[in-house]
Symmetry: C2
Subunit: 342 residues, 2 copies
DNA sequence: CAACGTCATGGTAGCGCTACCATTTCTCTC
DNA sequence: GAGAGAAATGGTAGCGCTACCATGACGTTG
């Protein structure tokens, strides 16, 4: 007994429907869609017409199964609401919007365990490339990345030992530049205020230490940190703590701009003059830092560009010409503003 | 001639490897994984052991192909960097992190055409559910949603005619409440400042009009809008424009909190007293609004909760018990703060 | 002009999984 | 204790696509 065609599929046109309509073999349709130059122009036109008439859309699942390769970029970030990662992700989306690649986005919540779990899940899809935030993967995660069988790009920072490729900048140098700027501006009792304290924040702190040490200004009581998730309100609280601990504080380098904004608002509220009494430096240079009053000095980072570059490197690797330089350092820029203009 | 096993697959264990090792049929493994209660406890244990020993991970592509249904939620938002949508997306991710469902996230850039394109792409994957921001889909998009063959949840606002389900609140009522609050607080020349002006902003503006009209205060010169993407710096500029156009302005209802913050900073810079000379109300109530100095009155919206509820409704529909109420109105809350405490 | 590449096209056999039906075994019921 | 039903398991046949190889129609070469 003959079964009706398409027992389960919702009756959508398949590649053989297109082939029948165009009077060619199914495989020729497949080729016309993926490698048009290998099909004669005449057939290509016929096939194109049949595709449009039927409204045929290839099934990515069947494609992935047959070719053992999904047209998917796996992207792993620690947070979706942190503007920094949102910008990177936006750069990735924008770069891939005209390509056949889809994006599988995972949120690790800053957890190494969660990262491993997601890499496991993503790996089972045989992605075309993986983009992961950070360079501090657990050994298990690192092994998963090495065995992924696809290009891997670590983003947000650079380091000595890439799994495959890297795009970012040196957070240590950034922290150091910020601190040195405060020192040059004449501040002396410069605090470090940091929330979340992920590995990148740790390295910014390390940069702060280097600069302070070199200037002979380092004092552990100047450092105020917490593992709690960063926010503007937390910035205010941490600044109050810092001030209570060290009333002679005359400057702060903040982990990020949210914290810096919290500090700024608290200064307003407590009528502390910025930049005269306290100098403030943030990190990332969100749009609002130059609008704030007083405008806030910050380290401008190229987040969107990191996303774009990561995709560009991955696409190059996929198409066989892996970039010469496996590590792209996009640097940063110190934006001097009113908050440190003593 | 016998072909070697696994011609293309990277040699990863398949379901039949597990079946062989556990001494059962492949289909029983499949069932043990998906509907454990239909397999005897003994076999379940054996299978579990085999899965772990081999490190078997099911291939989602093969699964999707065979079952004509992918374990994927398609999510469409107009922006990835706008905190509002980022929060919704975070709620969706958090709600699905323990489920077998993956998330396919699309960025429409506020474009109806792009939305159609993405719905086409997402549809080809036969998703388990679709979550889309907004209720103003183009006719073509609406048709795609209706024919998606899966639960559809429209999020961020409520309206009269859901494709399937809706979670959100009334932006018109929100805009109205914000404006009425300003009026009650004694402000009279109340401006509306809005950027981006997507359909939700339009409805907030409509709410503003209703309230102003009712109070006999409406004057078209009080309204300042632009289609440009919203930002804090844009808020400052628009406020300057508004003030130039209408120097007697004594209050502003802002489209969103970014704009409100820009207005606040400009007031600081121009030494305009808030709330005495100018009252400010924002929309969304970002964390920083209550930290700002002065703290800023805003309409608190439940963005994270919208994401969670959307997933809950979709999951219910998938498992067969579609919620009684197809429309969930999560409301909003007026947060009175210093910026309107005259 | 035979021998040999090259190009365009097609047929076949899966990719790894699950829907559908069949089979077996184990309860109940009257 | 025979018949009916339920519960547990398995076999078969695809899902829609592409890798691999085969085929035939052309040049091109010596």
């Amino acid at each position: 007994m003959i079964k009706p065609r398409s027992r389960r599929g919702g009756g959508r046109p398949t590649i053989s429907d297109v082939a029948r309509k165009a009077g060619v073999g199914a495989i020729t349709v497949s080729r016309a869609l993926r490698e048009p130059e290998r099909v004669s122009e005449e057939l290509r036109r016929q096939i194109q017409a049949a595709v449009e008439e039927l409204g045929y859309v290839p099934d990515p699942n069947a494609r992935a199964l047959a070719s053992a390769r999904a047209e998917v970029f796996g992207v792993l970030v620690p947070s979706l609401t942190n503007n920094v990662f949102a910008e990177v992700v936006r750069g990735i989306y924008d770069s891939l919007s005209d390509s056949p690649f889809r994006i599988q986005l995972g949120n690790t919540h800053y957890s190494g365990l969660e990262e491993e779990r997601l890499l496991q899940v993503f790996g089972s899809q045989r992605p075309a490339a993986l983009i992961v935030a950070g360079i501090d993967q657990t050994p298990a995660s690192r092994k998963l990345l090495e065995n992924a069988g696809c290009p891997v790009v670590q983003v947000m920072e650079t380091g000595p030992d890439p799994v495959d490729m890297m795009v970012g900048f040196s957070h240590l140098d950034g922290g150091r530049a910020a601190t040195e700027h405060l020192i040059e501006a004449g501040y002396r009792r410069i605090g470090f205020i940091g929330a979340r304290m992920d590995p990148r924040s740790q390295r910014r702190l390390a940069g702060y230490r280097v600069a302070m040490e070199k200037a002979g200004l380092l004092d552990p009581r100047l450092i105020t940190t917490t593992p709690v998730l960063s926010s503007v309100s937390l910035g205010r609280e941490l600044f109050r703590d810092a001030l209570a601990k060290m009333p002679t504080l005359d400057g702060v380098f903040c982990n990020n701009d949210d914290i810096a904004l919290g500090v700024l608002f608290e200064c307003h509220r407590a009528s502390i003059d910025v930049p005269k009494t306290i100098g403030i430096v943030g990190f990332n240079d969100l749009d609002m830092m130059q609008v704030a009053f007083p405008s806030v000095t910050s380290i401008r980072t190229h987040r969107y560009e990191i996303g774009r570059r990561a995709v560009a490197m991955a696409l190059a690797a996929i198409s066989g010409n892996r970039p010469q330089e496996r590590i792209a350092d996009l640097g940063f820029e110190l934006k001097r503003r009113e908050s440190t203009a003593r």
